[in-house]
């Protein structure tokens, strides 16, 4: 069971992801430098971390998406490997076309860093199985371009296929405009691909792993525990070692 954390020039949550998977969860983890000619088959889960890959020049994620390594990531995803894109990593997945939609600047035109409430819309994905549908969790967001956009037609498809995984909500779980921090269409905070193995989200689960730091809750752990469950079921992982 091994996590691979892809590092682009300008990634800045790579070390935080490593801290989460390696120091906190105790699983083998490795940085994968975007420029290295690496075979990805030894990895079980790939994380595209947040940050400002290539300084967000052109568009967030646009240049990283063209990195030669990403063709291998595409292959990894194509053969069913789990790929998690957080914040800027989500942007990269959108730019690669692995997930639908695009990002606009936050509607207040400002960077926003705060803890937000998120409602789990689909708890039967490999990334959310440890959560319950309708559950309200707290995760930090930190982005300037997180205003998720999708046209009406695609939106229908995503809704029908239950591919909208997370939505911004109020404390009680209501999907209201006041809780839509960045102006995303239908308050969307995270979506998944049709095969259910590529997941992108704007909030940062890796920042909600320890009560000591972050929102004093450890809701981020559920995402990692869910992914590890997949391997426990496959018998790759010792059942006692998921958190």
């Amino acid at each position: 069971m091994k996590f691979g954390i892809v590092v682009f020039p300008g990634s800045n949550c790579d070390r935080d992801c490593f801290w989460a998977t390696s120091n906190i969860l105790g699983h083998p983890s490795e940085f994968i430098w975007h420029g290295d000619d690496r075979d990805l088959s030894s990895f079980d889960i790939l994380i595209l971390p947040g940050g400002f890959s290539y300084g967000d020049y052109l568009r967030p994620g646009a240049i990283a998406a063209l990195s030669p390594l990403m063709e291998r990531v595409r292959g990894f995803a194509g053969s069913g490997g789990l790929v998690l894109g957080i914040c800027n990593g989500f942007h990269v997945l959108l730019e690669m076309g692995l997930l639908p939609g695009a990002m606009l600047p936050n509607r207040n035109l400002k960077f926003i860093c705060r803890d937000v409430n998120i409602r789990v819309e689909n708890a039967s994905t490999p990334f959310t199985s440890k959560l319950a549908e309708g559950q309200v969790i707290s995760l930090p967001i930190a982005h300037g371009l997180g205003n998720y956009y999708l046209d009406q037609q695609e939106l229908k498809v995503l809704n029908r296929e239950k591919r909208i995984v997370l939505r911004y909500c109020d404390e009680e779980g209501n999907i209201v405009d006041e809780a839509n921090h960045n102006g995303s269409v239908e308050n969307i905070a995270g979506v998944i691909n049709p095969a259910g193995n590529v997941f992108g989200l704007m909030p940062h689960p890796e920042r909600a792993m320890e009560a000591l730091v972050g929102p004093q809750r450890e809701d981020g752990r559920a995402f990692f525990a869910s992914m590890l469950d997949v391997f426990k079921e496959r018998g790759v992982l010792d059942a006692g070692k998921e958190t």
Partner: protein, 724 residues
């Protein structure tokens, strides 16, 4: 003709004569320009150096004091904290976005240059009134500049302060502080270890931006200052992030002798300061410096303040590996010269020597001035403030004062969590971070009330330091060290120089008592426009240590029936208060006084009570007095309190006086007697005011305001003025 040239370079006739005597001849144009920037106030500290020596700089914890890119102090377990604060006032006045952004870039470079990973940024900002459109624009752009830069490089912006007063209308202050962590045995110094070491420049290419920025920073802002916009640099945080990672990798692999960032006065300053510290000479060939613009002259190359550049001196035989490391990060590294066994800085253009001056004439032998100091002789009067008609109304009003209201509008634009070490971020007196790899916590804060300093510079200097210390104590941390940014008007004016000396006298005393040496800092003079100086504003950046991060307290009332205790004595000290300024529109009077012995006893008692595990909350009292402290404690968990004012002073004085050396403490009902006895035994004035609980702040016979209402006023005040 010569006079005109000298003026353009910021040199005096007397200084020119000195240069001639050092060289034994007249300098050529390039050499004159080198002296112009190196002898500028900004680089040479010519008016402040003698005074700065009076500040305490030593202590057993000091690993690196002033004189390097940043200071470093021992925090145990083989680690040091590296810290520095710096001003970017003039650039931010002219071009607020880039000025503020490059201020952050510069201070972060100072930290990773030392081989430390930056873990936190703080900002201390001063602006004119938010009522004015010009201020709102400047402020909005400065905040955006800080955010865009810090967010991109992935260093959390965890704290600082913002203060508004018309005194800063034309000349805002933008001070940025950075804190980093390094292994004690792996600190990098900005010096070469031998002659004939290779000298490289790495990072961004050199362009025409920021030429003579150091000189620009060393004169008064005028009507025409916006013509100096080319003197403001442009930042590229992406480049900075690459440099950061590459430099830390070089340190990890032990490939370098020394690293120096290129800041004010660019290559000139970096080269001469490294040479000076190393006791060596240096040769630079400007033809080898990678350029962004065409046809740049030797002078332009030497003076450019293009950002995100580093001078790197590889270890012997490691040159290739250094270049390869930079290449991997997509950075160009060019060999531009070498150190020499001589004592001159030699600037070549290929084979031609364009300038040759003794290193010490640029650095150590720069002029020093003892300016004349003359106080105003005016004694500030004790202010008596009439009782307000409706104290509840006044209380609601002052909650919306931009100086007291929540700064959420600001800090939500900053990523304050990246790095996953932020235990408490912005919004409270001090930030608290976990020190990665240890169980310790590092608390940090900035402080400095310019209004107090204007009214009484000596007392203001003491308060700046003591208030910073109280902020740290409130996090359960023992103060450890200081970095300071001293923002003043023109030192050539006797009353300004007097302010400077008095503030320093106060700070020196306070730092000495606290055993918090000043390990790094920056002086910013000439903060004047149209002959009008800003309030004298020392900004104290202080760090402190919490032994066990898991023992940290939570700010604010978290549960009902906690006993609320006021520690310290409240006097009728409304002079210089936020109440007087905001409610009555007067910035005057005798500011609160500090009894050093009482202050030290109060801080020590609070620390001991905390370390004995008797306390639930610690909150220091500062601007806005007891009223604000109580209000803030209700916001964290939305829990109210019932208290009774038991002092003899009128209620508005008890609530809004800014008397020093005070804390609000809470403890469980069961611990109350123990805490009171403990404090009384130490002869510290203590009153049990009441209890936490309920959903309003009830001050018996004075006011009763729902927490929700207070919080709405306090939280939204700034956004209401600035737009969301």
């Amino acid at each position: 003709m010569l006079e005109k040239k000298l003026k353009a370079l910021g040199l005096t006739g007397g200084e020119y004569d000195t240069i001639c005597s050092y060289l034994g001849r007249e300098p050529n144009e390039l050499e004159m320009a080198l002296f112009g920037v190196m002898w500028s106030e900004h680089c040479s500290y010519k008016s402040s150096r003698d005074q700065l020596k009076k500040l305490p700089q030593d202590g057993p914890q000091v690993v690196q004091g002033p004189g390097e890119n940043a200071g470093a102090v021992d925090i145990g377990d083989g680690y040091v904290a590296v810290l520095k604060i710096e001003s970017h006032n003039h650039p931010s006045a002219i071009e607020p976005y880039q000025g503020a952004a490059t201020g952050v870039g510069g201070i972060v470079r100072d930290i990773f240059t030392m081989g430390a990973r930056p873990i936190a940024i703080l900002n201390s900002l001063r602006f004119g009134s938010l009522e004015e459109k010009k201020t709102r624009q400047l402020f909005t752009r400065v905040v955006k500049g800080i955010g865009d830069y810090g967010n991109c490089i992935g260093v959390p912006t965890v704290g600082g302060e913002v203060f508004f007063s018309t005194s800063y209308r034309e000349n805002p202050l933008v001070n940025a502080m950075c804190v980093g962590i390094a292994r004690k045995d792996m600190l990098v110094r900005a010096r070469a270890q031998r002659g004939e070491s290779t000298v490289m420049v790495v990072g961004a290419r050199t362009g025409r931006d920021g030429i003579q920025g150091a000189s620009f920073a060393s004169c008064e802002l005028t009507q025409n200052s916006s013509d100096d916009r080319p003197a403001v640099q442009v930042g590229d945080p992406f480049m900075e992030k690459l440099l950061l990672e590459a430099c830390l990798e070089l340190r990890e692999k032990d490939l370098v002798e020394g690293v120096q960032d290129l800041g004010a006065a660019g290559l000139t300053s970096a080269a001469s300061e490294v040479a000076s510290r190393s006791g060596l000479g240096m040769e630079i060939d400007v033809e080898k410096v990678p350029l962004r613009d065409e046809n740049m002259s030797a002078m332009e190359i030497m003076l450019s303040e293009s950002q995100e550049r580093m001078l790197v001196i590889p270890r012997e035989g490691c040159e290739v590996e250094v270049v390869e490391t930079f290449l991997r990060w997509g950075l160009d590294a060019a060999v531009i010269g070498q150190t020499t066994e001589g004592s001159d800085l030699i600037v070549r253009e290929g084979k031609t020597i364009k300038g040759q001056v003794p290193v010490d004439s640029l650095v150590d032998k720069a002029p020093r001035y003892t300016r004349s100091a003359q106080g105003t002789g005016k004694k500030q009067e004790q202010i008596k403030v009439a009782e307000p008609g409706d104290i509840g109304e006044v209380f609601r009003k002052i909650l919306a004062s931009p100086n007291l209201a929540s700064k959420r509008w600001v800090y939500e634009q900053y990523d304050h969590m990246v790095g996953v070490n932020t235990v408490w971020g912005p919004g409270i007196g001090a930030a608290l971070l976990r020190v990665p790899g240890t169980k310790r916590g590092l608390a940090m804060t900035t402080d400095g009330n310019g209004r107090y300093c204007f009214l009484d510079p000596y007392v203001g200097g003491i308060i700046a330091v003591m208030e910073a210390a109280r902020n740290l104590v409130s996090m359960g941390a023992r103060p450890l060290a200081v970095t300071d940014c001293l923002n003043f008007g023109s030192p050539e004016k006797p009353h300004i120089y007097w302010q400077f000396k008095e503030v320093l006298r106060g700070m020196a005393l306070a730092c000495q008592k606290l055993n918090t040496p000043i390990v790094s800092g920056n002086v910013s003079f000439y903060n004047e426009t149209g002959g009008q100086a800003i309030f004298p504003t020392p900004v104290v950046g202080m760090i402190g240590l919490l032994e066990d991060i898991n023992q940290h307290l939570v700010p604010g009332f978290q549960e009902e029936n906690l006993a609320i205790i006021l520690l310290g004595e409240t006097f009728d000290e409304m002079g210089g208060s936020e109440y007087l300024a905001f409610i009555e529109g007067r910035e005057e009077g005798k500011p609160p006084q500090v009894d050093i012995a009482r202050e030290m006893a109060a801080q020590e008692a609070v620390m001991e009570a905390f370390e004995l595990g008797m306390l639930e909350n610690i909150q220091d009292l500062s601007e806005g007095g007891l009223a604000l402290a109580l209000a803030e404690m209700t916001f964290t968990a939305g829990m109210g309190a019932q208290v009774e004012l038991t002092g003899k002073l009128p209620p508005h004085v008890q609530l809004f006086s800014e008397s020093q050396s005070r804390f609000l403490l809470t403890c469980s009902e069961g611990n109350l007697k123990q805490v009171m006895d403990f404090l009384r035994e130490k002869d510290i004035p203590t009153q049990h005011l009441g209890w936490s609980g309920g959903d309003s702040l009830r001050i018996k016979g004075v006011l009763d305001v729902p927490v929700k209402e207070m919080e709405t006023i306090w939280t939204n005040a700034m956004a209401n003025q600035l737009g969301y």
